[in-house]
Symmetry: C2
Subunit: 115 residues, 2 copies
DNA sequence: CATCGTTATGTATTACTATACATAACGCAA
DNA sequence: TTGCGTTATGTATAGTAATACATAACGATG
């Protein structure tokens, strides 16, 4: 038998009023919307249904400090979506914290031999 | 409206061969088994079905470096379960890492104002 | 004014997870 | 040898989350 592959996995969320509000899924979705300019393309790209992606965007816009995504139907390319500066700031800060946690976790790899 | 309550939540798991192996649920279960000396009491105490708790114990014993829990049916009090030294070491180390992540996250609270 | 790809929204179905329930085995002690 | 509380195990049910599917609206552009 080959040596077992052991690794850490962690997830960070932000709760608002004790309800999940923002986490890895939404962070990835926001990044993909930013890259593709479209909720539907972003959703497909990460293997998520459009409906779920749309619901996430709606909830972020509703409960966030201000809208994270501006989406418009119709027009030149049928419409599209754009991540607002607030949305971009949230992504950036979230990724920064995740990076710091990752640094901590990397230092603890010796623990894996215990498992 | 009252000021929204925002807080971080994170979870840490250890994957073995890319499958979830150990995480917060199992850590809590192990601690409760250690405290109560019984899988069933531990399960009830954390609102988990005995069947699930038992399955977790079995999987930990099967895929861990060595058994984390020794369980015995029958006997004085009907039987019981004990966390092995290896199991205790895993709990302790896991909690230590979680504590370190918590320290990092605490320092980032300013981020929450952005949400 | 027809076309296009997207946003927007509702309903039905599937997939998964966990619980609920039921039952047997176990081994000490009275 | 009966009773006890636990471990051990299978099957059925329920609860939830996600997808799948279907349809309408939208607005620039040719």
């Amino acid at each position: 038998m080959a040596k077992a592959n052991k690794q850490f996995r962690f997830r960070l969320w932000i709760d608002v009023n004790n309800e999940k509000f923002f986490g890895p899924g939404r962070a990835e979705l926001l990044q993909l919307i930013d890259q593709t300019g479209s909720i539907s393309k972003a959703a497909k790209s990460m293997g998520m249904s459009y409906k779920k992606a749309w619901a996430m965007v709606t909830e972020m816009n509703e409960y966030g400090k201000s809208a994270y995504v501006i989406a418009k139907p119709g027009g030149e390319k049928g419409g599209g979506a754009e991540v607002t500066p607030v949305g971009k700031a949230v992504i950036k800060a979230y990724l920064k914290i995740v990076g710091r946690i990752n640094t901590v976790v990397e230092k603890e790899k010796a623990f894996l031999d215990l498992i």
